[in-house]
Symmetry: C2
Subunit: 275 residues, 2 copies
């Protein structure tokens, strides 16, 4: 089965739109772009389109690539304090000279739609968060729509990054799945993938997951978006792998739109919880 991320996202956005209409104030989401990373700009443009379509006021704040950590943090503190902003997100990655986590920590949990501050991640890690990280929410939705439970399932997760691998690994394990975290140092990834009922990848390396690594009937969720040149490529060799799977997300049009819908859904959930 090919997951149609656009359609799933439309359904989520329709629900969020209905919630937006019930709110007394128009929700406003402040988004931060540092520098001129093509992929980041493209992703923010998609977020803006989705937000505006459902009545969310999306404000983009651009800062030069050479901004200091202190200056950027101060700007974000200001945005977060402003009552008009209901949510704040920082598009990653930030330039290497910036202390990303220190910057992200300026977003208070009640406005942290991406669940990236230390506090929000802590709440998530102890399973007490109000909302889930958008990538986790996307996986949860895909699995739920396809009646895939997690207890006793073998899951292989490629990568352990801030946005995909780390939160998803933790979530899968806390749901009773058997989870293997695979990275670039793993000597024989096949050993894990050939046994995996579910493979989730978020490393941004084109076609590293081949058909001879996957068992028949596996479910494959491909977050392979992180491309520094702004090209949208998958981690999975879709053409070949898709012949063997019970479920697969294409790139583009798979998890990407669902993640964006989850960010906006998080914004509205946080507003509702604050009221």
């Amino acid at each position: 089965m090919l997951i149609d991320g656009k359609t799933i996202a439309e359904e989520i956005l329709a629900e969020v739109a209905a919630e937006v209409k019930k709110l007394t104030k128009q929700p406003r989401l402040a988004a931060v772009l540092v520098g001129d990373h093509v992929g980041s700009r493209k992703f923010l443009e998609l977020k803006k389109q989705a937000a505006e379509k459902i009545g969310i006021d999306f404000r983009l704040y651009k800062f030069p690539a050479d901004i200091t950590t202190q200056k950027l943090r101060k700007e974000i503190v200001g945005m977060a304090k402003a009552g008009v902003n209901h949510g704040v997100l920082v598009e990653l990655p930030l330039p290497p000279h910036i202390n990303s986590q220190y910057v992200l920590n300026a977003i208070p949990p009640e406005k942290d739609v991406d669940v990236l501050s230390e506090k929000s991640q802590g709440a998530f890690f102890v399973n007490r968060g109000e909302i889930l990280p958008p990538a986790v929410e996307a996986v949860k939705i895909i699995l739920a729509q396809n009646n895939i439970g997690l207890r006793g399932k073998n899951c292989a997760v490629f990568g352990y990054g801030l946005l995909v691998g780390k939160p998803i690994s933790h979530w899968l394990a806390s749901q009773g799945a058997t989870v293997s975290v695979i990275n670039e140092f793993t000597l024989n990834a096949n050993r894990y993938t050939l046994n995996a009922d579910i493979v989730i990848s978020g490393v941004g390396k084109q076609n590293i997951i081949k058909d001879d690594m996957i068992k028949d009937g596996a479910a494959i969720i491909d977050f392979g978006y992180e491309n520094l040149e702004g090209r949208i490529t998958g981690d999975v060799d879709f053409e070949e792998v898709s012949k063997k799977t019970s479920l697969i997300t294409p790139v583009p049009g798979g998890v990407g739109p669902i993640v964006i819908a989850a960010v906006l859904s998080n914004l509205v959930d946080l507003i509702k919880k604050a009221n």
Copy 2:
């Protein structure tokens, strides 16, 4: 190689004792026991002995098993606010009617020697913590003393609990290890363990790890302490498994004493960082 946890703990405690002597005030550690769990009492008694031996003032506060979450939290807030207490720990498990995480969140990070509040766990999860969870510290010490690196190593972790499996899995993955989290729903644990260079167990089920599950030369770290009757038993069938391993921790006398030393080392580290 058999890990002599008592000797390693003595070495750590000697270092901590030297640090304690340099401090201007005697460190004081407040420990909370709720109810009369035999295993908890035993473990607290060992912590008290180790603390007093190196000049730490260890104060045990006992509360009845039927104390409410609110009342217990209030007591801990009071202890944490008291300037005389440099560290606060709550012996787990708490009775089932208590919201453990809410209680643990009453300990501020600068006094959270066990790294169990939401804030401390958040800092740990984003790799920004001042100290490591004691179980992680114990693993780190054992691996370092035996020159075992983590990149490219296959690790199998049994259990995903608050004290052992969850923090250790995260730490191993963040150090570049390939990590599989195995639980009671895992259908074929052998598939993971037979490939594992390092096996870490923290489930408290006697002898669930057998010699035919382990590859020759593996390193085995057994946290199998959690026994509700206060009996100290291992998760590993030590007699048979130890014949095949390059390194193994016995129970008792393995990781247990090292974990206790790590708690006291954390106390002194937090005091030094606050000054």
